[in-house]
């Protein structure tokens, strides 16, 4: 399933990084401590977090994650959004909790 497909199924709102929405997603990771995410997230993952600062884009880029999903209605900081556009890493927002998002993701990735 592609990033775009998942966004539709989970009713996510695209915030930035549109260039990357065609990518295939495989597996996922949930976490807000960036060092843990860096150690655990795998290439192609959907990453669910509540962090919104620019470092999430660096972490997603280094781990080669396919998409970032911000839970709890959060939006990326403006400089994070700018960087995500530059790197083509889609960042989505959802009103749902991380738990709800993961429950829905489970059967898709």
């Amino acid at each position: 399933m592609t990033v775009k497909d998942i966004a539709e199924r989970l009713e996510l709102t695209l915030k930035c990084g549109e260039d990357g929405v065609g990518r295939e997603v495989s597996g996922g990771y949930v976490g807000d401590l960036l060092s843990l995410v860096m150690g655990k997230a795998q290439s192609g993952n959907a990453w669910v977090t509540i962090q919104t600062n620019i470092n999430i884009v660096a972490v997603a880029s280094l781990t080669d994650a396919a998409m970032i999903i911000l839970a709890e209605g959060l939006s990326p900081d403006p400089n994070a959004a700018k960087r995500a556009d530059m790197e083509g890493i889609p960042v989505y927002s959802s009103e749902k909790t991380a738990f709800e998002l993961v429950c829905e993701l489970k059967d898709l990735v």
Binding site: L33, L34, S35, M38, G39, S43, N53, N55, A58, D64
Partner: protein, 142 residues
Amino acid sequence: MSEPLMKLHYTVDGTDFTVAGEASGAVKKVLKQLGISADVIRKVAIAMYECEINMVIHARGGVIDVEISPDKIRMIHKDVGPGIPDVEKAMTEGFSTASQQVRELGFGAGMGLPNMKKYTDEMNIDTELGVGTTVDMTVYIK
């Protein structure tokens, strides 16, 4: 010993937390262009990023030298920060002296140095209180 194929040099701004990751991002791109395997790139990028972040949050920035050879990639991170009083303790998972402000940004989990150790084949920390710290890491290209 043969000369490295390529040498790269970066300055890490110690005042701007938001630009950390520029050096590791740039090196990642170079390694990709050289056709280095994704597995090796991941290791180098994660180790470098953790080290860059440490230079910013613990040591007011510094310089990074990267040497790319046919069989390995060496990354030397040098700062003139406060130094590390107890390296063994600092290497422990979960140990961190990071401020609350840094923690709120998602860092300060105390996993940086353990991650660097995990993702590199050689790692050496040379540190002196009040003088600075040099973290020298190598990843083999197998």
